[in-house]
């Protein structure tokens, strides 16, 4: 029985009502559809002696246009876990926020610090459930009671655990540097230099990556979020002041029309100041 005013409550979660309309529009518009903001990107991470160093560039593109020059790609997940995100910008942010909330609830419930593998498992389940429609490739790094760990999660839910990783459109360039420069048990400065060089290679050789380099160093003593670690050398410097001085535009005529206001009613109310 289905009367027109008996409402079927909408299911919570994703709503696919418009997907057939969108498919028809895409067929009709043929390439002029709005493009989501992707992070193009080079992200990299390395495990060193005392912890993990994560690095990322700061450019976000929307097809051929740079949408954001100072975007932040290293997201907070837990006080001891940070995550770099490549892929569709909104997807990476929302997914990492969701996992961060879940980890916080877990910490409050159990009184323990979350482990990196827990974040990885939650992410893997989430991304596999949506069969790659959520375009988020992430590199998670953190230090927990079992040691320092570096994982990568792909958009379809694939997980890899390695001592050094690079993801994003610039990952081939970054991986080359990593493969050459990685040694087990690096010192902090060497690890920072390695990640910096890897991201730099991505910035120079990939159109989707650019501008500054952000680093995040996670150790068991705490987190050092260095933003920016290295600034882009192509900052624009204005050579002139472009404000026009007063009086540049000549005034030809001047007309003043006074507004005639009439007092209709006057009411005086005493304010209580005691």
């Amino acid at each position: 029985m289905a009367l027109s005013n008996v409402l079927e409550a909408p299911a919570a979660g994703f709503n696919f009502e418009n997907s057939s309309r969108n498919a028809a529009l895409q067929a009709g518009l043929e390439g002029q559809t709005p493009r989501p903001m992707k992070t193009g990107t080079t992200i990299a991470g390395v495990v060193f002696k005392d912890g993990v160093v994560l690095g990322a560039d700061t450019r976000a593109t929307s097809s051929e246009v740079v949408a954001d020059k100072m975007c932040s790609k290293i997201h907070y997940m837990a006080p001891n876990i940070y995550c770099c995100g490549a892929g569709t910008a909104a997807d990476t942010e929302k997914t990492t926020d969701l996992v961060a909330s879940n980890l916080t609830i877990f910490s409050l419930n159990s009184g323990r610090k979350p482990r990196v593998v827990m974040a990885v498992n939650i992410l893997q389940d989430l991304l596999y459930r949506y069969r790659g429609q959520i375009g988020a490739s992430l590199i998670l790094g953190g230090v927990d009671c079992t040691g320092s760990h570096l994982y990568t999660v792909g958009p379809y839910g694939s997980v890899d655990k390695k001592p050094y990783l690079a993801m994003g459109s610039g990952n081939l360039a970054a991986m080359g540097i990593m493969e050459d420069g990685f040694r087990p048990d690096l010192e902090l400065d060497q690890a920072k230099q390695l990640v910096r060089s890897a991201i730099q290679a991505g910035i120079l050789n990939d159109l989707g990556s650019g501008h500054n380099i952000d680093l995040c160093v996670i150790t068991d003593r705490g987190v050092d979020y260095i933003r920016p670690y290295q600034e882009s050398q192509y900052k624009d410097h204005r050579t002139n002041k472009y404000r026009f001085r007063q009086g540049t535009t000549p005034v030809l005529t001047d007309t003043v029309v006074p507004l005639e206001l009439e007092v209709v009613e006057e009411k005086v109310q005493q304010m209580e100041t005691s």
Binding site: M1, A2, L3, S4, N5, V6, L7, E8, A9, P10, A11, A12, G13, F14, N15, F16, E17, S19, S20, R21, A23, L98, S101, N102, I105, F106, N109, N121, D125, L126, Y128, R129, Y130, R131, Q133
Partner: protein, 169 residues
Amino acid sequence: MNSRGLRSQLKDSVPVAGFCPQSQFGVQDSLRGGFSSVKNELLPSHPLELSEKNFRLNQDKMNFSTLRNIQGLHAPLKLQMEYQAARQIQRLPFLQSSNLALDTLRGSDDTIGFEDILNDPAQSEMMGEPHMMSVSQILWSFHPVSARKVPDVDVGGSYLLESKFGLYF
């Protein structure tokens, strides 16, 4: 963890024809459902539509069958009875219930997913007409048990074929 589903269990899931909202007399409701096309009614328009609609159902089924294999038949039987009881705790038919007891039983009261953020039914802009909804629920309660519509929480408002205890084998 969520994905060890077996294809054979999909046979009890919500059929695809449950997609388009039916109007009076079973004619396509253009105002609410958009223009009709045979393709839309046969196939879901998005690859995730079917799997999302059945997600909780399939997860429950899988968990219960695993539980049955490990602990024996009594475990899912008792749990299913508790689920049935918790599902009956609802507010008036046109008001949205929080389903806290059901969430606690499922263990989803301390996790946040997309179903808590997006399209929250409590924030829905439309509300059913109170009198019609109450009348419709009373009339349905007289219907034979074979196809019973309960204000359903896991599969948004569609019809479920349930046996007396709501067991899925």
